[in-house]
Structure formats: C-alpha cells, structure tokens
C-alpha cells in the first residue's frame, strides 16, 4: 500500500466525512472506506481518472478546483484532503481558506521545491528542476505554484491557519532524522495537517 495513504488513514477518525480534492483514481478514498468506514467524495476533472473512480465505485464529482469550492456548505466535512495538488492550483491561498471553511481540518501535501536536489540543479545546470515528484519541464508543467516548507508556513502564519502537524518525507514517503531537522533542505514531500485558528 502507498505509504502516504496509510499515514493519512491514521489521521482520520472512523465514519468521518472526507472530501478528497484531486482524488485521481480514488485510491485514497477506497482505502479510507475499508480502513475507516468513511463517507468520502472525490473531486476530479480528468475524464480518465473519473472513469477509474466509476469502475471502483468511488463517489466522485467532476469539478475544476480552480472554480473554487463555493458549492459546498460550511463545515460539511470532517476532513478535506489535497495530496500533491496545491502546486497546480491557480489561487492556492484562497483554496486553503475554502478547505478550512468546509472542513473541520485539512491535510495538504506538496512537493518541496526547496529540496536540496533542486537547489543543486539550479546552481549547477541553471535549469528549473525536474525530478520524480515534479517530473515536468517548465513549459508544460501543471505545477504553476512551486513552493517550499518555508513559503507554506509563512502563508499559514499570514492567514492565521493553525498547523496541527507537520511531517517530512522523501519522494517515496520515507522519513529520516536529517529531513526532520532540516525539512526545507532535505524533505522532498511536505505534509501538513491544518485547522482553523483557535
């Protein structure tokens, strides 16, 4: 099983209402349904991914996240999850507000563009980094909002979003003491659990 699914499942209460933004083929929701008996819905706008959700019998709504989440009412979900999608959103700061408006808490993961490998590549070759978590070249990348641990936490502070938990992972969702000490340099994937300000 994908390690990030296991980690997310551990953070979700049984029978919770979960919204998965950019749910892909519904793997996470399927796992959560089995592991935690959740009532889950995915949001996706890729026809092939939606077809995969239909095959799996996963609730999915065809919707473009860039149109916002106005259609969902306040506090209608226990957890709103968005894995490795933040960097591809037009207005991530507004979407974060929306996520915490409709959800009690949210989980956000994204590739850390401050990872040392990217920094080295920028320094040596001078090219925009291409790596496993960010496998596109600059002109056709969906990742239009590259950000780092540092950037994200600055935004959270400005917006008064409460960081309940921060986890640091390699691109294969392993963790280690070095990346825990220096997340912005050694973490490839940033994992945040957020809540509204107390």
């Amino acid at each position: 099983m994908r390690e990030d699914l296991r980690i997310i499942a551990n953070l979700i209460k049984r029978d919770a209402r979960v919204l998965d933004l950019g749910c892909g083929s519904g793997e996470l929701l399927e796992h959560l349904a089995h592991a935690k008996n959740i009532l889950g819905y995915g949001i996706e706008n890729d026809a092939d991914e939606i077809a995969a959700c239909i095959q799996r019998g996963i609730n999915v709504v065809e919707h473009d996240l860039n149109e916002g989440l106005q259609r969902f009412t306040d506090k209608s979900f226990d957890m709103v999850v968005m894995t490795e999608t933040l960097q591809a959103i037009d207005s991530p700061h507004q979407l974060l507000d929306e996520m915490l408006r409709i959800g009690e808490e949210c989980i956000v993961t994204f590739p850390n563009f401050g990872y040392w490998g990217h920094r080295v590549r920028m320094l040596t070759s001078g090219n925009v980094p291409v790596s496993q978590p960010i496998p596109h070249r600059w002109f056709d990348t969906p990742n239009i909002r590259p950000c780092t641990f540092l950037d994200f936490e600055q935004l959270c502070e400005e917006k008064d979003l409460r960081v309940i938990q921060r986890l640091v992972f390699s691109s294969s969702y392993k963790t280690g003491s070095l990346m825990k000490r220096f997340p912005n340099l050694f973490g490839a994937i940033a994992f945040y659990r957020l809540g509204r300000a107390l």
Binding site: Y41, I50, I54, Q55, V60, V61, E62, F72, T73, S76
Partner: protein
C-alpha cells in the same frame, strides 16, 4: 429490414400491455377508474430477480426504447444505441423494462382513450398527471412483473426526474438511480417555453378546447409549432450552426420565398412529422408534469431533506452545451445528495449537441454509462 437487424440489437420486440382494473387516486386527487400501461421488456429477468432496470422516457418518448417491431421498420426504438447486447445497458446482463407513461398517446391510457365512466374519449378531461403519479404506476407495473427492486432506474431529462422521484417515494426499491441531463425543478424560462408550446396548441382553431378528436380534426399546426419551439431548446446554437449554418435550400438567396434556410425546412419537417404522431392533449399533459415537478416543495423547498430518505446510489450526468437543463442544475442535485450523505458520481460531459446529447452516442458519455452499469452488474454477479 430483415437482413439488416444488427447483432447488437435486441432484435424484434413486441409491445405488451397490462390492465389495472381497480381505480387509483392521482396526486391531484382525481380518480382514474382503471388504466392500461403499454410496455416492452428486453433481456431476461434472472432467478434472483435482481437484474431489472427501468427506463423512464422523456417528454415525447414512449415504451419502444430498443429493437424493431417489424422487419420492415426503418428505425429502431428511441434509445436503441444504448440498450442491447454489449451496449451500455447490456441486455446480456440486465432485464430492461420500458413503458409508455400514464397520459401517453402510444397505447397507454391517456387523453385519446375512452373514459369508461362516460363512454366518451377523455380528450382534455383526462386528469392532470405528475411525475409522482408516473412513478406510482411504474411501481404497480413492476409488481405485476415480479420486480421488487430495480437494480437501476434510468432516465434522461423528464425521465431523470422520474428516476429521482423513485428514490424518494420507493427508497427500498431502487438500488441505483441514473439521472441524465436532469434538473430538480424547472426554471421560469423552462416553464415559459412550455407555455409557448401549450399556447401554440390551444391557439390552433382545430384544437376546439381539446375536443378535436371527437370532431375528427387535429391541431397539427399548433402541435407542430409547439414541437418547433421545443426542438430549438433541445439543440445548442453551435449544434444548429454545425448542422445547418446559413445553408440555403436553393443554394442562393431568393428573396420572399417561404422556406429559405435549411434550418427552417428542418424545423418544419420536425414539426410536421411530430404533429402526425403525437397527441396534442398528451403534449399539454406532459409539459405540465414537467412544470409541476419539484420534489423539494413538500419539504419546505429543501432538496437535501427531500433526498434524505433515499437509499439509492446515484449517477448524475450533464452536458456542457445543454442550456435547457444546464450542468449547474445537475450540480444542485449533486450538492444536495452530498449534503444528504448519499453516494453519488457526477460527470459533466463535453458536448456541443445541447439537451439532445442525452440521446446521442457520445463516446465519453456512453463510456461512463457502460462503466457504471458494469459496476452494477459486478455487484450482482450478473
């Protein structure tokens, strides 16, 4: 033609009918002293009786959804592209029931039938029927066929409204509801178009207050005009543009001619053909049923509460160019289902064909239907 019935057709089919002798009370309070429903079935009801699918027809539809009545038929049933062996609604797995709704004009009791109480044709005195009445009578028909629970109730447009009503009125009797190009209620604009259609019919001098049949006439011009207006709302600007553009019938402008542009002659053809095949009073009844549909109304206008008791899983599909029941209307249904905690899959299919898209074999649309029906079949080991 005999040799041309394709392999993936349900083949030759025969309309059946069931007569209900006891009277029923309709939503309006009116009583109907017995009635007859005409229907067709495709595929076989399995031993577990868990593979039945109900097809609900739209405004001008009827029971003949798939296959051919005779080898000489030039056209198959109205949803033949979707129902049959290997098709999205696969008759190798499912037992498909399709009927002509109460008030119809294709054999089911309606305005053209004789009122047994008076011995005369109902005509305009046929009671108002609603989506709720249709669902009630569909349920009665299902019981006579030994179907306790439908694996799926499927409909586009007005048919989707019936599928939605099923989940509210008979929550234990429908496992999946497929609502296609649907809306939870008509908008003022929708009602306005329906009223133009009705007014076109009633303004025809041959309408005679609805008593045209007994006088041996038919308000064909009015009904044709109603259909022409309706037809424009089923298509999109782009679809009409692609199909007709500004093509001229004669190839060149001949100022003052009656029918100048291709689109005009198309519309006239649609109107004329329809007016010969459809009953004007039925058209008025069916458009009224559309106007009245609003399941949230009896729940304080709260669609979430209206759907709260539903137990079905839902597929909601809409089409980008549909301006009659635009995707936003389907979104309203989806959002209510999510708020009510129901299982729902919703897709918005890219299409230029307008509201009519729900009848067309658009690859992504049919792919979605195929996948969803396949899942229903797998759940049941069909």
């Amino acid at each position: 033609m005999a040799s041309e019935i394709p392999d993936n057709s349900v083949g030759l089919v025969k309309p059946l009918s069931h007569r209900f002798d006891s009277s029923i009370t309709l939503q309006s309070g009116a009583k109907l002293p017995g009635f007859e429903l005409v229907y067709e079935t495709y595929g076989r009801l399995n031993e577990e009786r868990n593979n039945a699918v109900l097809i609900c027809h739209a405004l001008s539809g009827h029971h003949h959804a798939a296959g051919y009545h005779t080898r000489e038929d030039t056209k198959p049933g109205w949803w033949d592209n979707c129902i049959g062996p290997g098709k999205p609604i696969d008759t190798d797995h499912f037992y498909v029931l399709s009927l002509n709704n109460l008030g119809g004009c294709h054999g089911t009791t309606g305005p053209t039938s004789i009122n047994p109480d008076t011995g005369e044709i109902y005509g305009p005195t046929f009671p108002t029927v609603t989506v709720k009445d249709w669902v009630q009578t569909q349920h009665m028909l299902a019981q006579t066929l030994g179907i306790d629970k439908f694996a799926a109730v499927i409909g586009g447009s007005l048919g989707g409204m019936q599928a939605m009503q099923w989940t509210i009125d008979y929550p234990d009797r429908v496992a999946h509801a497929l609502l296609i190009a649907c809306t939870p209620k008509l908008s003022a604009q929708n009602i306005a178009f329906n009223e133009i259609a009705r007014f076109a019919i009633s303004s025809d001098p041959e309408f005679n207050g609805g008593h045209y049949q007994t006088r041996g006439v038919n308000p064909e011009r009015g009904l044709g005009l109603a259909r022409m207006v309706g037809h424009v709302t089923y298509l999109s600007d782009d679809a009409m543009g692609d199909r007709f553009g500004r093509e001229l019938k004669s190839g060149d402008i001949a100022l003052g001619q009656d029918v100048e542009f291709q689109v005009e002659s198309y519309l006239h053809y649609q109107g004329e053909t329809f007016s010969k095949l459809f009953d004007a009073n039925t058209y008025i009844l069916m458009t009224r049923a559309l106007d009245y549909f609003d399941p949230a109304r009896e729940f304080n206008d709260d669609l979430v509460r209206a759907l709260a008791n539903a137990k079905a899983k839902f597929l909601v599909a809409s089409f980008t160019s549909d301006w009659r029941f635009a995707p936003e209307r389907s979104d309203t249904i989806v959002d209510a289902l999510i708020a009510a905690g129901k299982d729902v899959i919703s897709t918005t299919i890219e299409s230029t064909f307008g509201h009519d898209s729900f009848l067309l074999p658009i690859p992504r649309y049919f792919g979605v239907l195929h996948a969803y029906m396949g899942r229903i079949a797998r759940e049941r080991d069909l």
